[in-house]
């Protein structure tokens, strides 16, 4: 597999193409940004470089990270079995770790499919400075590594306050030491398990057994918020994405259509040529939910759903320390027609959207997903580590 959109050097860290590395072409998987070279690096990249890590290259991503697991990357469309480039680079030992933007689930699905770990940390802990932003209110840089220890190593470097990002939390640093797991309580979510195939369910059960062997109580409960969370997140995500990528208009940088007679045609032709079908669907959906007649029923309501679900989750997490769910409905995906992309991604995001909607951490490990309350990364990593050490 060709991991890289742009190869930079013989480094030990890969960075997905929605994260900027100074002077390295950054296209976010889109024709629209072809040739765009940023003047600065993302804060997370700078922090890693300052600690002696080196960037190997920019891994292929699906256009603006909107697809299932990177299959619709401009100039690198996938066929056959689908795999995420950054996840595969880590799985195959090409790099020690990789950074990716977690926005609509593609990074977590890729980790589950490739069998590597991926942490989407609590919103606001890693600076978004230098992220080609789509859904500002829920996207977050996360880390791929072979195991929990590998993730901890990178998080220790990249987490912490950055004044260049107004949403960056004030905490100077965070503690990613693994919490002792014996005596902790983990809930399996019935509604999400039911959405998954047999093989995925088997992974959940194996993971639960392994946790029990480490002294963790695991029980199945009903917590039926994930579809609502997904609908709300798809509304917020498409609206914010539609708005944030409206700056790619052919005027300043990136792709400009050759044929146009006036400014309107310059916009329309450049964007028609520059974006793929899925991005266009997101733009249409996102601008619809923000329109005057629909705003209250769609966007405003989704903001309310976000607040209500945050409260509901807080209630649940008083009784359990973490929840255990699938990260995707199945363990492998085949290439498909882009016209089906919007529906496919929508359905799959039911597993991932809650964490983006309410900003909680989510960790993919052994093909399953753990979520906990804000700043519970130490516990999630501890649970993953307990299982990973059993497997060795």
């Amino acid at each position: 597999m060709n991991y890289y959109k742009t190869k930079i050097g013989n480094g030990n860290i890969a960075v997905d193409d929605t994260i900027l590395v100074k002077d390295a072409e950054a296209a976010a998987g889109s024709k629209m940004l072809t040739g765009f070279k940023p003047l600065f690096s993302a804060e997370a990249v700078t922090r890693l470089e300052n600690k002696g890590y080196q960037i190997a290259g920019k891994t292929n991503v699906g256009e603006f990270g909107l697809d299932l697991l990177g299959e619709f990357s401009y100039g690198a469309e996938a066929d056959g079995v689908l795999k995420g480039a950054a996840a595969e680079a880590v799985a195959n030992g090409e790099v020690k770790a990789a950074l990716a933007v977690d926005m609509n689930g593609s990074a977590r699905r890729a980790a589950a499919v490739s069998g590597v770990d991926f942490l989407k940390p609590t919103y606001g802990t890693v600076s978004r400075y230098g992220v080609i932003s789509c859904a500002a209110s829920g996207e977050q840089i996360g880390v791929y590594a072979k195991n929990a220890n590998g993730i901890k190593d990178i998080m220790d470097v990249i987490a912490g306050h950055d004044e260049k990002d107004g949403t960056s939390l004030r905490n100077e640093s965070y503690d990613y030491s693994f919490t002792a797991v014996s005596g902790k309580k983990v809930a399996i979510i019935k509604e999400l398990s039911e959405k998954a195939d047999a093989e995925t369910k088997a992974r959940i059960n194996a993971f639960a057994d392994s946790l029990r062997a480490s002294g963790v109580t695991v029980e199945e409960i009903s917590f039926d918020v994930f579809d609502t969370a997904n609908t709300a997140w798809q509304i917020l995500m498409t609206a914010e994405t539609c708005n944030n990528i409206s700056r790619y208009d052919g005027v300043k940088f990136g792709h400009r259509a050759k044929e146009y007679k006036n400014i309107d045609e310059l916009y329309v032709n450049s964007r028609t040529e520059g974006f793929n079908f899925l991005t266009k669907a997101v733009i249409m959906y996102g601008s619809d939910v923000l329109s005057k007649n629909r705003y209250e029923a769609c966007y405003d309501k989704s903001l309310k759903v976000r607040r209500v679900l945050a409260e509901k989750f807080e209630e649940l997490i008083k009784q359990y320390d973490a929840i255990l769910t699938p990260a995707s409905s199945k363990t492998a995906y085949e290439a498909y027609n882009i016209h089906e992309a919007f529906g496919k991604v929508f359905n799959e995001s039911a597993f991932t959207a809650l964490a983006n909607l309410i900003g909680i951490p989510a960790l993919v490990c052994s093909g399953v997903q753990l979520m906990g309350k804000h700043f519970s990364e130490g516990l999630l990593l501890g649970l993953a580590d307990a299982v990973e050490r059993k497997g060795e």
Partner: protein
């Protein structure tokens, strides 16, 4: 039938901050060439995030306090979506749902008496860039993008063009004296909402909006034209009035309807997730209040009581830097009327020689105070004071050191010392006789008399040389 004019105003004012609203670029007044003051943030490059300039909040709150508004302690930003090449992100960051100030009021004195104009709200926003059209191409200049603005929205409380112009002049002098805006050409832009109704009627007539005017003269003309157009339509049924947006054409003095496309846009406003809500707590508000300059009316009255002329008061009120300089030296103990004359006559005169104005004045309150104090104490006369002031204004010298160097101080002035020596010689004939007869030491008595007279301030070497010369 008699008709009543009903007008509401939306006024955009560019704030005098050192940097733009969400990045550290200098304001566009610092720019010399197109795209001089531009960074990845204000040119819409991906990866950059807006970071709030605290000073913008403080100036907006100060403006709100001056206009008697409620200051909203929780204030948020929204995005307004539209495509135009001078808008690099294709959205403008502004405030829709939680503006920073609401419910204000400003009192006007016009020929019709005192009128209260209610302020609906003040909100913060970023400006757009500029398009320059040349030949086959159009060029984009982003110097002005993200320059901070406040928009002041009134209720429809104006009843004449005169009231509107009085209000705008009042805003201008308030904002200048408050250091909120320089209000230079183009830094104040107005949208005028206008309708007419039969006198006595409570209902509003059909409203039109005239967009984007910056000269007060044009605003006045546009209102007069538009009012007459509305009255003619009602009175003589010359046309059917429709709610629409119009533009004023200065050359013809007429207003014209703008294309519908520009007026019926759905801007799809929604909250900006990159900017956290701003909370203005008691401590911060008190700090802003403490730094708020006195209200213009109050300030003018104080100057008047101090005996400063009306013409001078106008000059002071319209220039925050200069009135602050005066207030500072007055606080140090200078008489206000006297201080005003030093600044507005003497400093202005020095600058005028070089074709400059008071806006170019660079002098610290301490240095100006030092010059005035030397004159007031009688150490130097006013002419010497002016000489020193020229050197301070033109070369930024230290006034006291310069005075000594140039011997402008009376105590270092040869003629003054000579007078003291002459007096000592006249009063001590015995010592003079002794010295002349060869008792050289007798000069000590004369020297002592001079030093006593000069209260020790004279230069001993100079006195001694002069004394020896006189005794020859």
């Amino acid at each position: 039938m008699n008709y009543e004019l009903v007008i509401g105003l939306e006024t955009h004012v560019e704030l005098s901050t050192e940097s733009k609203i969400f990045c550290s670029c200098g304001g566009h007044s610092a720019a010399k060439e197109p795209n001089d003051c531009v960074c990845p943030a204000c040119s819409g490059m991906p990866g950059m995030l807006p970071v709030m300039n605290k000073h913008v909040v403080e100036l907006a709150v100060t403006a709100g306090l001056m206009l008697n508004c409620d200051i909203n302690r929780y204030t948020t930003f929204d995005k307004k979506n539209y495509y135009y090449p001078d808008l690099p992100c294709a959205y403008q960051i502004t405030q829709l749902n939680h503006p920073i100030c609401t419910n204000g009021c400003v009192t006007l004195k016009t020929s019709a008496g005192t009128r209260d104009i209610r302020i609906k709200q003040i909100h913060m926003e970023e400006d757009a860039g500029k398009l320059v059209h040349g030949g086959k191409y159009s060029y984009v200049d982003f110097n002005r993008t993200s320059v901070p603005l406040i928009e002041i929205v009134t209720q429809p409380d104006f009843r004449s063009a005169e009231e509107v112009v009085t209000y705008l002049n009042k805003l201008k002098s308030m904002f200048r004296s408050g250091g909120i805006s320089e209000c230079e050409e183009g830094a104040m832009r107005c949208d005028v909402n206008i309708s007419v109704r039969p006198e006595g009627s409570e209902e509003f007539g059909v409203r039109t909006e005239i967009k984007n005017m910056s000269s007060f003269e044009a605003i006045e003309k546009a209102i007069r034209y538009e009012a007459q157009r509305h009255i003619d339509a009602l009175e003589f049924e010359t046309e059917e009035l429709v709610q629409e947006t119009r533009r004023f054409d200065d050359a013809s003095g007429k207003t014209f309807a703008m294309r519908n496309k520009e007026t019926e846009a759905d801007y799809r406003y929604f909250p900006d997730a990159n900017l956290m809500p701003i909370i203005i707590d008691d401590e911060w508000l008190e700090e802003i209040k403490a730094n708020k300059p006195a209200a213009v009316d109050e300030k003018a009255e104080n100057y008047r009581l101090a005996g400063i002329s009306d013409k001078e008061i106008d000059m002071l009120i319209s220039n925050h830097k200069i009135s602050k300089l005066l207030d500072d030296i007055v606080a140090m103990g200078v008489n206000a009327k006297d201080g005003a004359s030093w600044i507005l006559t003497d400093c202005a005169g020095i600058l005028r020689k070089d074709g400059k104005t008071l806006n170019d004045l660079v002098i610290t309150a301490e240095k100006l105070y030092a010059v005035i104090k030397m004159v007031d104490n009688g150490d130097i006369n006013r002419n010497a004071g002016k000489k020193i002031l020229i050197a301070v204004v033109e070369q930024d010298v230290d006034p006291v050191a310069f005075c000594k160097e140039q011997g402008l101080d009376k105590k270092f002035d040869v003629s003054a010392i000579e007078a003291v020596i002459d007096k000592a010689i006249a009063e001590n004939p015995q010592s003079v006789a002794d010295y002349k007869s060869g008792k050289v030491k007798a000069i000590q008595a004369l020297f002592g008399a001079c030093m006593k007279e000069l209260k020790g301030a004279g230069d001993p070497a100079v006195i001694k040389t002069l004394l020896e010369e006189k005794l020859k």
